[in-house]
Subunit: 337 residues, 2 copies
């Protein structure tokens, strides 16, 4: 049977053949919850036998919305962003919502997205994945008049699912202090597209050192963009210090992995000679014995998806803080005597 002839079977036909009303048939086909399992099965079997296909346009008209959600994502090739999107996909697939993907990898793409808002009139909601929306961008999004959720980070005053960056950093730095380190460096990551943004992962470094009565030496803090190569270069700078640190806190695992390469190339062993701790628990952290503060971006995506479904069902906006915890591996150890 071809697509064209199959399309001639209508919802009314299916309902008649199944011996149910059109509303029940429609709900069964759209996987709505208030249909008896036996009825749903009968309707689905008959629809399958007749190769009946729900017209998205018809079902959209029935629901009064688009049935689509826009995901705005900066760097899909990176583990963190890809994982959040995977989780969102899991949470939203069950609700039969389609995901429209908008990548805003560099500042030009991002400007173009917020300028043109290509998702306008196409979606019921927008999920901002892992980046901070600027004031002008927020004003543009507001013109869409749809629900907006932030996943894997806090942004503007949108409902969000995120970790507590301050707490994650505190866990990392406190681990180094507890091991007995007294000279602790920080590899601070910044976003080159938003250079004015102070990292939420930095203040805990200063607070933990001060609370432990340790001197804060600003020459042990190196700022550079996110990414492994930058971490490698920053670690080189610290190794060139007249009195190098015995341990470093890196703002992410990728930055930490770059730092570990620099150590190895300098003939130093991570852990035994210089301790390194990151944040993430990137899949590579386990493969490289990197101590880190674990977060689960996939789970953050799942929770953000559920939060969004609640909003679309008329529930009150809320935000969630996902937990983080220290995972100790071989890259940290007490300082050498």
């Amino acid at each position: 049977m071809t697509e064209t002839s199959a399309a001639k079977v209508t919802l009314v036909d299916i309902a008649r053949l199944a011996g149910v009303g059109v509303g029940t048939a429609s709900r069964a086909l759209s996987n709505a919850k208030n249909v008896a399992p036996a009825t749903r099965e009968r309707v689905l079997r008959i629809a399958e036998e007749h190769q009946y296909v729900v017209s998205p346009e018809a079902s959209r008209l029935a629901r009064g919305n688009t049935g689509r959600v826009a995901l705005v994502v900066p760097h899909l090739s990176r583990w963190f962003f890809g994982s959040v999107v995977e989780g969102l996909g899991d949470a939203l697939r069950g609700a039969d919502l389609d995901l429209l993907l908008y990548e805003v990898g560099d500042s030009r793409d991002r400007h173009d997205f917020f300028d043109r808002l290509p998702a306008r009139r196409k979606v019921d909601a927008v999920v901002v994945v892992g980046f901070q929306v600027e004031d002008g961008e927020r004003d543009r999004l507001a013109t869409m008049g749809v629900q907006i959720v932030a996943a894997g980070g806090q942004s503007a005053s949108y409902p969000s699912v995120h970790i507590d960056d301050h707490e994650a950093s505190r866990q990392a730095v406190a681990h180094l202090v507890h091991l007995g380190h007294r000279r602790i460096g920080m590899l601070e990551a910044v976003d080159p597209d938003q250079p004015g943004l102070t990292s939420t992962r930095s203040p805990a470094y200063y607070e933990v050192l001060e609370a432990a009565g340790l001197e804060v030496d600003p020459t042990l803090v190196v700022s550079a963009p996110w990414g492994g190569e930058h971490g490698a270069a920053s670690m080189s700078r610290l190794l060139g210090h007249r009195e190098p640190p015995t341990a470093v806190f890196a703002h992410s695992d990728e930055v930490a992995l770059g730092a570990m390469r620099t150590l190895r190339r300098a003939g130093l062993r991570p852990g035994a000679d210089v301790s390194v701790v990151g944040i993430d628990d990137h899949p590579m952290a386990e493969l490289t014995d990197l101590t880190t503060v674990r977060q689960d971006p996939r789970e953050q995506g799942v929770l953000a998806g559920r939060l969004l479904l609640g909003l679309l069902d008329g529930r009150e906006p809320s935000s969630l803080t996902a937990p983080t915890h220290l995972v100790v591996r071989g890259s940290t150890a007490p300082p050498r005597a």
Copy 2:
């Protein structure tokens, strides 16, 4: 001005105010190429001033298609798949096509996707990212009556952009042979969801060894699913061999990175004690000094996107083989004397 009142401004109004025909105004707003830059700017400025929004339904009717493409992707959190999708996004954004994302991470999701074909009637084309479509799945896809392209892998007889797996493997194994290794192991990766599928990366291993006059020892080949932890376990098995290999060829960088962790934990140095080569040039390969055969999945995505645009424009189907090349780093060296 609210969304509702803005919607009252029509394309005809914009064209009149800009002093151009309706067709020109439409092309300017849809970023089509055959509009003078000054005209385009004038139309866009007037549309912006009047908060004119192109109705996707109107523009779809004008084009006679959905303006959407479905991406079917197994594991978005993994670098390879995320990178292919990033490249596809880049290529298709310029054409003003929206991307509908369908994740098919495990075999249940995948079965559900091909069973229900939720993308039906919603898209002009389907891109299958990095996995092989089985016979029954191909028959289901065919019922959609749309263009189908495979990106980052060959699948069925669809037009595709992929690397030559046999050539990539040949480059990796030949490198180990040229360094002087005589006992070379293989960490063979298999897909647990498609166990019957013979890896296209395996035959070159046997061919290169035989061509070099080296004995093929089947006990030096360990098969396990893709992924770092499996690579680590497979390397442990090879280290327990009564006569362990001096070098191993891993089917991917993630497998290779797992193998390197096993070596380090056993007190062996990758390169100096046992050589390891992978395939991919994963961002972590550079950070871990892993020798590998480089491919560029992002570029494969871009090329697949262009291939798809050509098909939608009525051009003949074709396939492309993306190049690979050896990148020598510290994880490979001549065998110890």
